[in-house]
Symmetry: C2
Subunit: 121 residues, 2 copies
DNA sequence: TATGAAAATGACAATCATTTTCATTTATGC
DNA sequence: GCATAAATGAAAATGATTGTCATTTTCATA
């Protein structure tokens, strides 16, 4: 069973707590850290199963890891220029919880992202 | 400019209006239709840009296409057994629209999925 | 009915994220 | 020091998706 390499977590934090495995790896490379892509993937998976990060997906399907404990928010993404705004999701939390309760689900999480064209595009 | 092959749309309908490109392709193969994987991808993309289908992603990131006009709903997915319940998302529509308006975004869409442990697991 | 331009098709190769394999290095207890 | 388990990373494997390109089909018009 592999444990997480602490530099991976540190890098994810430095990246704003929101990045893909590839991005974490490239960031570490650029900063001169000597680490393999495999280790980055393994560490992120380990952080995921320890519930230190969550997993969600970008529009193109690429997996992105988000630090838990970051205030839970969602994103409004421009599908043209990629500009991203963080937004509050209180309404979603309530919706997710009530739906889960209604259907007898426990330990629920959710993903919700909104995409469209920003005012500039 | 490539137009969508009508058999692709027909197959997606037959599949319940909810399937990945690979699934549509395999289904067509099994039913003896002579079509290439490339054409399936192209047709789905074309249906997407014509707004006849939407795109969303499975937990593993694989792209799934959903027929628009199917009543818009979301999913509650058991992360253990994969069991899925369709749920209404009226609250989400409102949230997405108000957030979009607040930040000046137009032509917005959204994805929202809830996952947890179902009552059996 | 011929013809030719444009669109559609599909085999195949390329790309990209992710996972697996496996040999090597590092850490740890004895 | 030594044995053993854990961690690491290079390289290959995998799987979805996209790009390329030669061929076929469609279809309006000569």
């Amino acid at each position: 069973m592999s444990r997480s390499n602490p530099r991976v977590l540190a890098t994810l934090e430095r990246a704003g707590g929101f990045a893909s495995a590839q991005e974490v790896y490239q960031l570490m490379q650029r900063e001169g850290e000597r680490i393999g892509l495999t280790t980055v993937y393994r560490s992120l998976q380990s952080l995921l199963s320890d519930k230190i990060v969550d997993l969600l997906h970008r529009e193109d399907g690429e997996a992105i890891y988000r630090l838990c404990g970051e205030s839970h928010h969602h994103h409004l993404v421009c599908k043209n220029c990629g500009d991203t705004v963080e937004i509050e999701g209180g309404a979603i939390e309530k919706w997710a919880n009530s739906m889960a309760q209604e259907h007898g689900f426990r330990e629920v999480g959710h993903t919700a992202e909104i995409f469209g064209l920003c005012s500039k595009c």
